[in-house]
Assembly symmetry: C2
Homo-oligomer: 119 residues x 2
DNA sequence: TAACTATATAACCATTTAGTTATATAATCA
DNA sequence: TGATTATATAACTAAATGGTTATATAGTTA
């Protein structure tokens, strides 16, 4: 954290809040491989139309995706690669946590028992 | 995002949710330079005692900080450097966004006007 | 053991927000 | 222009959550 002003902390918190909903992460997952219009995202995620529209608005206002009307459709695209970057980092961190917990569990249960069995 | 299972998405969302509150970011800021006990964090942040205790529980359960009772006091410490790493990345991203917006604004307002004045 | 201090928890309130339903807007086509 | 389709918005409900106050717990000291 380069800047520690309350203002900056609030902005960082807001950014994380946008990424703290499964529905919005789903949308970003679908857009990873390229932009899509609303109907395509709706079909891919199975979300309701109004709900999807609201989440897309949140992502757009956060500057994470861009909105481009194209005739009848509206095309959304990820404009902030950082969001995917930090998702990736968090994924790896969570996997590391779980792996670490398992190793601790294994260590506890191998005391005096047959440790090779678990492998 | 390496894994895209709904389970993993939910875990990622939960991780971001922990970081999506100013109070918890404040706590992490205070712990950046080293562990502190509750009283020290309370004084540094000005948070209420019960409120602080709840936030520390959330951070602990997320595996981001560790809890170590030491006599009467309880010592908290960051155990997950990834949380600071991604905060830093988001900070830089937000600064880049604002800088970019300013340059766009500047571009618009320099059309036909004296562009050097703004500098 | 009693008093004191540090921390955690319970109960409560107010606010926020995700999802749904219904409606509005805007573009296309007949 | 009217009908149709795609997207956005308004209104509402239910659930989650941050902050506060009061109380409980646990370690320390007299």
């Amino acid at each position: 954290m380069a800047d520690l002003s309350p203002r900056m902390l609030a902005n960082v918190a807001d950014y994380f809040k946008v990424l703290s909903e499964v529905s919005r992460l789903q949308i970003l997952c679908e857009l990873r491989t390229g932009g899509k219009n609303v109907s395509e995202i709706m079909q891919a995620t199975g979300m309701g139309q109004a709900n999807l529209s609201k989440h897309l608005k949140v992502l757009t206002q956060a500057g994470i995706v861009s909105r481009q009307p194209r005739g009848v459709n509206v095309f959304y695209e990820i404009t902030d690669p950082v969001c995917l970057e930090i998702c990736e980092i968090v994924c790896q961190q969570l996997i590391a946590q779980i792996s670490q917990q398992y190793q601790q569990w294994q260590g506890i249960h191998s005391l005096g028992e047959a440790p090779q069995k678990a492998l």
